[in-house]
């Protein structure tokens, strides 16, 4: 059930980005035991690493975007390094985005946070 929701959210996010003119380079990029990046896309020259978070109501544990914790951010930064190395993408602009999707009864609400966080 939860995996289902997650899958659905990632598909919606990918469609949303494509409609905005992003080119999807990779879905569910994995590297060893590090974890995974939901979507890697390209907007013009900029590489965009996208984390998709979804929540069903009621929001008893906060909004979806709040769930991108510092630890998750660090994982994504490590994965981004690994992705860029494996594809030999060096010295190109890149950023981290978060797409938050909340399922409210029949309404589906999608929010896109550009440059949501930074590597430290």
């Amino acid at each position: 059930m939860n995996t289902e929701t997650g899958r659905d959210a990632e598909n919606r996010a990918a469609r949303f980005l494509q409609n905005k003119g992003y080119a999807i380079l990779s879905r569910n990029y994995r590297c060893g035991k590090l974890g995974e990046i939901d979507i890697v896309a390209k907007q013009k020259d900029t590489l965009v690493f996208v984390e998709v978070k979804s929540k069903k109501e009621p929001f008893s544990f906060g909004t979806p975007q709040e769930a991108v914790t510092f630890k998750k951010q660090q994982t994504l930064v490590r994965l981004a390094h690994s992705f860029m190395q494996s594809r030999k993408l060096i010295g190109i602009p890149c950023r981290f985005d978060v797409v938050a999707i909340s399922y409210l009864n029949q309404n589906i609400n999608l929010e896109h946070f550009q440059n949501a966080f930074e590597a430290r």
Partner: protein, 510 residues
């Protein structure tokens, strides 16, 4: 894409130049500040980001590295906000300025892009002027600090209110005139208090007049409520007005400490500092991780009033020895040794004993001789030797309370100023400004005693058991008293009055 912006920081009370280098690289977005920043500088990240976004500029999603050179000196304070923001905007090409290297930036940013006032602008201006006259710098500083910066002649200071205003000024979209500041006159300082408020205590007023005329230190001893504090507070009103250079020195100190009132860019009246007797030694002498001037420096060219001097911690009082002798205070820390100016007039007040009524005509003292001795021993001999005048302040008689008001501060100040002018002419080119600062060679040269006065002094030293230093102090005070009468030779009555100001300590401190 590298931008290099000039800025400055303060160590102690002196400014040093800081180059803010901003590099924007295409990599994972990040924001790093290096070059030994303290917490306030680290937090500039969040202020700069919000200020740039809220001023309708783009904050780059790139790897931003800020270096504060020289990299081995610790930097503190929020004044790097503006230079860092300008660096980011220049490096991303959002602000185009032909010659960025002629500008020096200082300012704290608010989240909405407003620029807040910072500390030490005057010290920065003085430093850059002393660098090199041929390479002229322009200063972009917070509007609230512009008047203060304009006190330094020969530099152009531009005041800005917000980040966007600063940018349009640099691009030439807005033409600004450098700040011109007409300083207020020093001639008639405005005081709310006056010596006419003090009833009776004529001899104490005379002693303060002598102290003010020669820059001597003074100790007042008396029971509670006799007017020691009241007298001391009125001392600045009879001191001669500050000169321009003195005012600038004091302003620099207050600017570095962030104690300059916003609407008053120049300190024109002599400082009066009265630290509480619980002050720590660092609070009095100065100190801290980033060393700051203490109370002795904040009363530079003014009055340091220590009320209830016997209640101060002993180590705090002993700290005063160096500044009283040299006019500076030297603070040595592992990182550096700093010297702050601390040329002040010490005014101390104390009760004669723990209960306060020893020697009082009306109330009886309830202290034992041991208690009195212990109380007074708090002021060490060496410190007491450095205090020229000791005056007893007895309780005020009722008939004095209803008397007509005494002489106003203005009249006394005129006499004091005249005596000081005589001293200035006498010591011109000698690195001494008043009688209290005379060195032995000056005493020999300028203090000629009449034969009678010589005889009186000899008797006084022998019978009272005065030290060699006390002997010199009496001559210095005699010189001041003679200056007040505009006499060249020290007569008997001059020396006699001076000896009168020294005897009290021998009575109480035995």
């Amino acid at each position: 894409m590298i931008a290099r912006i000039k800025s400055s920081s303060i160590y102690g009370i002196e400014a040093f130049p800081v180059d803010v280098e901003v590099d924007i690289a295409q990599s994972l977005p990040a924001f790093h500040i290096v070059g030994l920043p303290d917490k306030a500088v680290q937090e500039a990240k969040e202020r700069v980001r919000s200020a740039i976004l809220n001023s309708n500029f783009v904050f780059p999603a790139s790897r931003i590295t800020v270096n504060l050179a020289p990299a081995d000196v610790k930097k503190e304070g929020p004044s790097f906000d503006l230079p860092i923001a300008m660096g980011i905007l220049t490096a991303t090409g959002q602000v185009k300025c032909e010659d960025m290297s002629q500008y020096v930036f200082l300012g704290e940013l608010a989240l909405d892009g407003e620029i807040r006032r910072v500390e030490g602008i005057l010290a920065v201006g003085m430093f850059f002027r002393s660098l090199n006259a041929s390479s002229a710098f322009s200063f972009v500083v917070p509007e609230a600090n512009a008047k203060e910066g304009a006190l330094v002649s020969g530099i152009s200071v531009y005041g800005v209110r917000s980040l966007s205003e600063a940018c349009s000024f640099l691009q030439g979209d807005v033409v600004k005139q450098p700040y011109v500041f007409h300083p207020p006159s020093f001639v008639e300082p405005d005081y709310e208090i006056d010596f006419t408020d003090v009833k009776g205590q004529e001899h104490a007023k005379r002693a303060l007049e002598v102290a003010a005329a020669g820059g001597h230190n003074i100790l007042q001893v008396g029971p509670p409520g006799s007017g020691k504090t009241m007298l001391a507070r009125r001392l600045p009103t009879i001191l001669p007005p500050m000169t321009w250079d003195e005012g600038l020195e004091v302003t620099k100190l207050y600017s570095v400490c962030g104690m300059l009132p916003e609407n008053q860019p120049l300190v024109t009246s002599r400082p009066f500092r009265s630290p509480h007797h619980t002050s720590s030694s660092a609070g009095l002498a100065g100190g801290g991780t980033y060393p700051r001037p203490g109370e002795v420096s904040l009363s530079h060219h003014g009055v340091l009033f220590l009320d209830e001097i016997t209640e101060f911690h002993r180590d705090c009082l002993e700290i005063l020895r160096q500044p009283l002798e040299d006019g500076v205070v030297t603070i040595s820390r592992a990182s550096a040794t700093l010297t702050f100016p601390a040329s002040f007039m010490l005014v101390a007040a104390t009760n004669p004993c723990p209960c306060g009524f020893f020697g009082d005509a009306v109330r009886t003292c309830t202290c034992t001789p041991f208690q009195i001795q212990k109380y007074m021993k708090k002021i060490s001999g060496p410190l007491l030797d450095r205090i020229d005048l000791h005056v007893e302040i007895p309780r005020v008689d009722f008939k004095d309370l209803t008397k007509a008001p005494g002489e106003s501060s203005k009249g006394i100040r005129e006499r004091v100023t005249k005596a000081r002018r005589i001293q200035q002419n006498r010591f011109s080119g000698q690195n001494v400004s008043c009688n209290a600062e005379m060195k032995p060679k000056h005493i020999k040269k300028f203090c000629v005693l009449s034969p009678d006065a010589q005889e009186l002094l000899k008797n006084a030293v022998v019978s009272l058991g005065l030290s060699a230093r006390a002997h010199d102090r009496i001559i210095k005070m005699g010189r001041t008293i003679a200056d007040l009468e505009e006499k060249e030779i020290l007569e008997v009555h001059h020396v006699a009055e001076a000896v009168g100001y020294r005897t009290l300590d021998r009575k109480l401190w035995n």
